[in-house]
């Protein structure tokens, strides 16, 4: 039977492609949320695979919090252009004009206005009824029981007490008018799987994932990169050059770097195989409130 064996990565790939196609077949107006991170990069490749040799029948949407690393935005525009994606970029103009940012307003207000509110407004504006997200169950504890199809009421809220049982590979796509779903095709992937797949498939990723000397400031134990001059001068003065890389990418003031020498895909995979720390320990937003991911999910953030 050895002719009919699929490696774990190919099995995960087949499962994700199946999920993406189910959603496209059963929903009217899906969109893929694109965060520019490594998981998004894998998810986007899986979508390209699902509809090859055709074009992917839905757009990518990036919610720009206006505080992403510069390299992320460059990468996003180049990738979308090279791969012929229909890219939608949305942001909260009102809050942006009011000067909302993590340094001045704190991570809670910033995330709420520039990410959650911006996302919900964009979903309403385009009337999307299904939104793919790159979340994985191994990311943190509260996601371990998350469904692949996650139901949202017409206010995009998640009701953890009312989630449908999910069995085999049969997904219930029935929703009432105005309701929508978030879909997580990477649910069963681990951080290690993601890196192995990036290596196997040679998927382009933002260079920030590779270790390099970068100017970082130690803020409450998080190594925050001085990415632009919106970081207050007194902080920037404390910046030191360190060999660091990022395990996850988000808003630069809210994403801590780790000290690492891993500057090749091989060394990153090797690092993943042995690290016992959760990747989200580098995300400032997860710690600003008790049970904070759970809360954010209920409000409509992932």
């Amino acid at each position: 039977m050895s002719d009919y064996n699929l490696s774990h990565l190919r099995q995960l790939e087949a499962e994700s492609i199946h999920i993406i196609r189910e959603v496209v077949a059963e929903f009217e107006n899906p969109v893929m949320l694109y965060s520019i991170g490594k998981d998004s990069s894998v998810m986007v490749r899986l979508a390209e695979k699902a509809f090859a040799p055709g074009k992917v029948p839905f757009p990518l949407m990036h919610i720009d919090s206006k505080w992403k690393f510069k390299e992320m935005i460059e990468f996003r525009d180049q990738y979308a252009k090279e791969h012929g994606w229909d890219l939608i970029v949305e942001h909260n103009e009102e809050a942006f004009k009011a000067g909302v940012g993590p340094f001045t307003h704190g991570s809670k207000v910033h995330t709420d206005l520039m990410k959650t509110k911006a996302l919900l407004a964009a979903l309403d504006k385009h009337k999307f009824d299904a939104a793919f997200g790159g979340a994985r169950r191994d990311e943190e504890k509260s996601r371990a029981k998350e469904r692949i199809y996650s139901f949202r009421d017409k206010f995009h809220q998640w009701d953890p007490k009312n989630q449908r049982p999910e069995l085999w590979d049969i997904y219930n796509a029935k929703v009432h008018k105005g309701e929508s779903i978030r879909v997580f095709p990477l649910s069963n992937w681990t951080e290690l799987d993601i890196w192995q797949y990036i290596r196997l498939e040679n998927i382009p990723i933002v260079p920030l994932y590779y270790a390099k000397e970068r100017p970082v400031v130690n803020m409450d134990g998080n190594l925050i990169m001085a990415d632009d001059d919106r970081m207050p001068q007194e902080l920037r003065d404390k910046a030191e050059m360190k060999m660091v890389r990022f395990r996850t990418l988000g808003c630069y003031p809210l994403t801590g770097a780790i000290e690492s020498e891993a500057d090749t895909i091989e060394s990153i995979v090797e690092e993943m195989m042995t690290t016992t720390k959760s990747e989200r320990t580098t995300r400032v937003i997860d710690f600003d409130q008790e049970a904070s991911m759970e809360q954010k999910k209920r409000e409509g953030y992932f």
């Binding site: 039977m1 050895s2 002719d3 009919y4 064996n5 699929l6 490696s7 774990h8 099995q11 790939e13 087949a14 499962e15 492609i17 199946h18 196609r21 189910e22 496209v24 695979k49 509809f51 090859a52 040799p53 074009k55 169950r137 191994d138 943190e140 504890k141 509260s142 371990a144 029981k145 953890p160 007490k161 009312n162 449908r164 049982p165 999910e166 069995l167 085999w168 590979d169 049969i170 997904y171 219930n172 929703v175 649910s187 069963n188 681990t190 799987d193 192995q196 290596r199 780790i258 690492s260 020498e261 891993a262 060394s267 090797e270 195989m273 042995t274 690290t275 016992t276 720390k277 049970a291």
Partner: protein, 578 residues
Amino acid sequence: MSTKLNITEFLDQDEKKDLLRLLTAGSVDDGKSTLIGRLLFDSKKLYEDQLDALERDSKRVGNAGENIDYALLLDGLKAEREQGITIDVAYRYFSTNKRKFIIADTPGHEQYTRNMITGGSTANLAIILVDARTGVITQTRRHSFLISLLGIKHVVLAVNKMDLVDYNQEVFDNIVADYRKFAEPLGIPDIHCIPLSALNGDNVVELSDNMPWYKGTPLLEYIETIKIDADHNFKNFRYPVQYVLRPNLDFRGFCGKVASGVVRKGDEVMALPSGRVSRVKGIHTYEGEIDYAFPPQSVTITLEDEIDVSRGEMLVHPNDLPRVERDFEAMLVWMDENAMDPNQQFFIKHTTNLSRVRIDNIQYKVDVNTMEQSATDRLSLNEIGRVTFTSNKPLFFDPYKENKSCGSFILIDPITNNTCAVGMIIDKVDNSRKTVLSESEIAEMRKGLSSIQSQDRESQLNQKGCTFWFHGADRALVNEVAFTMERRLFDAGKTVVVLPSGQNIIQSTILFNILNEQGIIVISTSDALSEENQTMIDDMSNKERMHVLTVDASLIGSDFAAYLQELTNAVNELIQAD
């Protein structure tokens, strides 16, 4: 692990390992959290050891040497339980250099049936934990029954807490004998028993010095090496079409996941339900064409001939057909807080096909603790029963035992949209045994009510019962429009009557509504209706069925033929059966 490998070779090899999905059954008291925690943690240590053995120049960040409270790894669930969040299953992940593992961890006592069924639906293997001090208990039997129902082929009976019975072989042997005797009638093909202590690590990753009498392998090695590739059905080719891909006029591909069997380029295939036969022209993937595809690959198939296949239909080999039936029997597990209403129709999702079913009969329900059968007229949460169904169109299925992908389905409540039940098909109904009418249907008839639902009628007539009420001052014009529409619908095979409305608008509306409920299309004519009357008709009727249309020369314009065509298109749209 050979030290001759370099990092690149090690990583190349690691990417090729396979995947095993496992279910853990047992309560916290059995030491389940500790066992899972140890597997998660010690697998990292294995990587450390393997990588240490390689020549490496880079420095690692992680350090797996610290003390870990295994139970902490499962804290997510505890917090959620306190918040009252429904947790039916939590997924845990770990890898070794031989395999990736997905653990479906289902919490202990509450809602055990629903939880275990959910967590176990995709499992290749189940670990059943028993406490060496108590041995096989009711819970062990219940878990084993559910595992056999789900068709999980491999079971590991992990006899835990051996340290608390002095690592005594006799205790272990007695539990094993007990269990094998109990499990025999369940028909689980592969049962393996391991004595261990999750807390002390005996026989989990390494063989224990405390039990020299145990000649087998430790748990991790066992689940790393057990052969599962033969568990897929590679025999009967079934390809439920998911999506039709038409990037250009020259390419018409059918996207899907191979549910079972193997398909090769050039194979003769039949499309169900049409029965049209063609050959596989190509099997396409992102990387290019491949010669053959097998489960669970997701591919795109093109055919030699232009035959019409849409989502929900199935490609098979013509000499190896699935059952194509409307009547079937299944083991049904009720998952909804609300008990079953046996008179309701449900949506059924089976492979990629969405259809409707009704329940004909519940033969019995099973007590999961004793496996005793008893009569019932409905199932409630966590109950399991043997149920007979009729679907409104034929399903293409195989018995679940032979083919999980084509033998499983979910039922969706049409009002709440919840997944209210899940089923495993036993087989088609032997017609000689089929109850023609269910008891609930007979009860309805005795009350003077028809057992035939309007959906049944509509699906038989293949139309939606609607009224098109044409009204206007020019009765001759109204009549011409009405009878033209009648002719067109009749020619299209529809069941339609023209009924001029009487003086009494209310009576006419009631009559039309009754006919519509029977699936019949009514075309009515009348003089111009006042706005007040139009509102009343709308209020009395179902908006999807009652359509009041003004016929007026000024609205029709100069092109009468175009007007009629537009009207025909609109009518055809509205009378589409659901």
